[in-house]
Symmetry: C2
Amino acid sequence: LRLRRAAVRSAVAIEKEVPEAERPDTFLRSSDDSSHSSSVRSRFEKMIRAAQDEVCAAIEAADGGGRFQEDVWSRPGGGGGISRVLQDGGVWEKAGVNVSVVYGMMPPEAYRAAKGVKDSSEKAGPVPFFAAGISSVLHPKNPFAPTLHFNYRYFETDAPKDAPGAPRQWWFGGGTDLTPAYIFEEDVKHFHEVQKQACDKFDPSFYPRFKKWCDDYFFIPHRGERRGLGGIFFDDLNDYDQEMLLGFATECAKSVVPAYIPIIERRKDTPFTEHNKAWQQLRRGRYVEFNLVYDRGTTFGLKTGGRIESILVSLPLTARWEYDHQPEEGSEEWKLLDACVSPKEWI
Amino acid sequence: LRLRRAAVRSAVAIEKEVPEAERPDTFLRSSDDSSHSSSVRSRFEKMIRAAQDEVCAAIEAADGGGRFQEDVWSRPGGGGGISRVLQDGGVWEKAGVNVSVVYGMMPPEAYRAAKGVKDSSEKAGPVPFFAAGISSVLHPKNPFAPTLHFNYRYFETDAPKDAPGAPRQWWFGGGTDLTPAYIFEEDVKHFHEVQKQACDKFDPSFYPRFKKWCDDYFFIPHRGERRGLGGIFFDDLNDYDQEMLLGFATECAKSVVPAYIPIIERRKDTPFTEHNKAWQQLRRGRYVEFNLVYDRGTTFGLKTGGRIESILVSLPLTARWEYDHQPEEGSEEWKLLDACVSPKEWI
């Protein structure tokens, strides 16, 4: 059954992933001329794998009982990933932390658009690319403990075949954002402060710019609201020094644990009612709406045959849709919704 | 808060709907030259409103306790609808039955594509259209009682202004399909037999053709499976006599109660386990994936500012996503999944 489903998918998609018994030292192609340990590709892969280990260890320690289940996979032509999921733990309902390395071909229009080349006389043809990233969504059980999402990715095209020494195109993207069902000012402030500290180490313009970018990106147009209370988000970033941006992405990934775990420790055991739980479930419904309808990574992944279980691990274990639900004006639920409709400055 | 959210939506969308205290006799514009009672527009509106009354009465009778809550709404420029939702009833978790009448403008490319006109020399400009439909999703609580969806719609463009007597373009679309979490052969056979009887009264080719169309339409590419066990589906149907197709759509709508209610009566009180409920919730997750990612009505509605609560009433009250869930080979859950992967002939 599984094979039949895979066959249908792969007919329209990229190479099917293959399960691996062990984690390889690297998912980089050995034929890849940028696989040497000093390359940005290689250092970025090391960084995201270290971040995966660090976040998973912190989650398991805070969860108290749950353990991550690991799936390692590769693609015959190169690339692969490590998916780790903790389900129905002591604190988290579902926690997914994935890293992946992908080799693919991009349509020439996409390449030209990204590069900013207007000249259509340039040779057209698919452009080989490399992409690596870490992606994580952490959904706790307690309705007073917030969901966290973070994702950091690096993208690079191959050097043109006819000009091996020519510069590659590259971009960084990513962000970390918080989605609570209830607002605790001290939590949201703390979260944004850690993001700002990470940003300020590199450029004073980063936090205000990436905070706004985050509020804009996680907007659900059909609801007129954001899915949560934001954080930072950036994409296609290449107009800074490459080493500086690698350092910035590394700093952001290292900030995940100090930004999130103290909030979880404060909220994980807060007593709650059925009413609180139902509201959390409704907000989880909004999370599903955003991810399935608008999130670029998800919709791109679904349409191009990425590893479905890794992509959809971002969805909560449970979600709820009530017809025409309106929180009572002035209630705690209303305050959260108000902040999702009109983003605030938290620091 | 509600107004602010609406303002954001309407900036990119069609006129905002306004709540109405009472059901009007018709949602047709009084200035509409096709509003007379013998027009297809008028007779189709009467038919879907009668079908809404009939289905809601049958659902309330079978539910035993739940009552539909009704919202009537209109748009300043004409058109409107009646949304009815029964939530957390005795038998149904969520049952929505909506009718709507919409006046809008379609881009000339869409009109030409639908009409099959290749000649681009034809005057380009938005084409006024009329659309009316009934749409319903019924999600029961008991995991052995299936979800039902049906939708019947009529679409017509206005006569060209410079040739008032010229023929209008028109289409019918719709279908009825069944989504159980467990297969009871007698239920699925009965359901498909009622669909076939309705089809056979009009054209012997309808059932086989619309059965396949249904299997193709409700396909979830990223899963390699259908959301359920099908039924009938057709769209853009205009290559038959208009009266015949109005009669066919009417017959299909009248077949909803005899196709569905006997199944519900048989299954609504079947004892079930937590395992059965969790599987139903996982299948509800697939329902959400199909509706938010692929369903044309939903994705079109979300992007053009339709009445969000009416559009998303199709989503179940609760849904579930487990990482990499695989039913045990040969189990009842596996049999359902197998039939969703490889559609069967039920009669």
